[in-house]
Every structure is written in structure tokens, then in C-alpha cells.
Amino acid sequence: MTPAVVVDGRRYSGQGIDLRDEEVAPETVVAALDRAGNAEALDGEPDDAATAASADRTVAYHGPSPGVGHGILREPADGRPTLRATLAAAARSRGLTASVDDDIEGIRAQLASLSVGSASTAAQRRRESAAGADVAELRERVAALRGQLEARREVGAPTEAVAEKIAAAAAELSEAETERVAAEQALADAERRSRPNRAARRRRLRLQDRLANLERDARAELAAAVHDDFAAAAEAVPGAVDAGDDPGSISGDRLAARYAALRVADLDAPVVLTGGRFPDADAAAATLSTPVVRV
């Protein structure tokens, strides 16, 4: 099936699709391709039109579904993703696998089944703080009233009203002290309850670290597996790339290196090009041996 893109009702198709006159944003085309990938993941109908609308432009993609590796390779640029990740994606698009793939799947499954609940003790911290402040304030008030009482006694003034205030404040203080003890206990309990939650988070972090290490190993292995092909492809794309002896020693034009990776890759859905290194979309598709949408 030949890739086709429909922009506001106008249909373009072929291995090289030139949309420069349409002036659509690359993100809009990428979004349409993404939707094609998601539609397949959801209901297994990759040929359904995947439509993306943005800034009153409607872009639909009809064609082969973006396969493995397309997400990394679809927009060649000289920055991220890293060249190693790009080469690994090219290898994956050709069906290559890494020796650690099973371990990676196993850890992903463990991570998916690991649940960490909420461990926040914020409400209890706030309550304890408020209770402590109340106690301090009431203690000051009782002390001040006692001072007044003493002063009135010394000059022989009536003390009943102040004594009543003291009794009321003392009752409030006693209540506040009870609340503070309860609040402290509640915070200690909440802190204790949050410990297993943190242990689960620690386990999750260890798994994530292990997963990241394995994924890095997989990328290195896959990139190395296609390095010879990459070196040959580097000769065929515009821009100077020195492939070196291994993926770690590739140097030179970073965008050209991404082009070479695309030449190595086996993609059925188009990638989106914005640069001007190729005379037209068809020439780009031929050089990259990959369907291309030029925007």
C-alpha cells in the first residue's frame, strides 16, 4: 500500500510526498502518523485514516502502519534522540532483537504489577503544626491573664472577671493540649504507615534503574549489529560522516548520520523531513530508501 497524506481534502501519495506548498507544521504530520500507530495498537486496523487537526489544518495519513522504531526515527534531527538510540531503532525496524529483550520484558512486567499508593503525611503534618501553635498561643494567654490577676490583687482591685477568663483559657488550653497529643500520635502513625510505601517506591526505583541499564545494553548491542551497514550507508547520504570502528566512534555531520541510519532502517510508513538537503521528496525517499513526507 502506497503511503498517502490528505491535507484539507487534497490527496498526495507516493514514496516521496512533497507538502511544502501546503505549509503544514511537521508536528501535524507526525501527529497523523502517530494516530495511525495508535489506531493499530488499539483495534488492529492500521489502514484506517489517521487524522490530525491543528491550527485549522486537517491532515490525514493513509498507508502502512508506523512499525517498530518509527517513533524514534520519524523526524531526523541532529540532536535527540541520541545516535545510538537512532541506530538501535533502525536495527529494531529490521526485526533485530537484543539478547536482553526477555529480561527487559520481565522487568517491565514487574514494574507494571508494582503498585505504590500515596504516602503523603501532609495533612497530619499540618494538623500537628496547628495544634502546637494553638497550645503555645493559649499558654501565653493564660500567663498574661495570671499577670493581670496578680497586678489586680496587689492594688486590691476586683479579680472575679479575670479569674473567670483564666478558667476559660485554661480549659481551652487543656483541650488544645489533648489535640496536640492526638495530632502528634496521628503524625507518628501516618509516618509509620508510609514506610512500606517508601519501600515499594525504592523497589520501583531499583527496577527502573535496572531497566534503564538493560535498555542501554540493548541499544549498544543493536547499534553495533548494524554498524557495518551504517558505515556503507554513510557513504551514500549527503553530508560527511566518519563511521569509525564502532557506534561510539562515529563522528562528523550529525544530521547526515541520522540519514544514514534511515537508510539502514526498514520502515514502511514515511518519515518527516524539514531540512533542505535533498532536491525533492522523491530524491530523499530514494537516497534514504524510506518513504518521506517533505514539509
Binding site: V116, S120, R198, R204, L205, Q208, D209
Partner: protein
Amino acid sequence: MLVVVTYSREARTTLRNACRNNEAAVVERVGRAALLAATELGAFLALRLRAKHGADVWVGRTEPFNEFADAPEAVRTAATAYEDRESPYTPYAKFAAGTDHPAPERMADREL
């Protein structure tokens, strides 16, 4: 001092960057944890982390440990005696068995 422990890759990265950019507030950073100065700047850093990463950031408050005030003599004596033991391969539980030194389980159950 404030002690900050992170529980996710993202929180750990933020902690690393925050510590790098605010040396004045950092006493120690080890892996995914850090000791921050008990200053408003230390509190600000800890709270920024918590605001960004929620329960993936735990914040506590520490003070220097004075074993003479905070730990019973039996524990101090046991620690010193164990470090003076003859065989470096004797686990503490075995070392303590049949002596006056407290068993590890007993110590685990007793709060300071």
C-alpha cells in the same frame, strides 16, 4: 540538618541538579539522598523537591548523635567489644550469645 531521600529517577535527577546549583545549602549528597543545611534555603530546596515530586521525596530532620546521651551503656559497650573481637568472621548475633551483650533482635525492638 534536613535529610532528603528521593524515590524515583526523576526526583533523584532534580536533587542532583538542585544540589549542584545550591552548594551553600548542601552539607552532603550521596546517591539519591542529601543532607541540607538547617537554613531557609535548605528548607526551600527540600520543599521545591517535594512540590515537584510529591511522595517520591521524603524529608526528615536530623541532629548530631550523642551516644552518651542517646544510647544506653549496654549498646555502647557491645559495639566497642564487638569491634575488638578476635575473629573478624564472627557475626554479632553469635558473638553476643551467652554474654551480657544485647541480642540484635532485642535492640531492634527498643527505641532510643
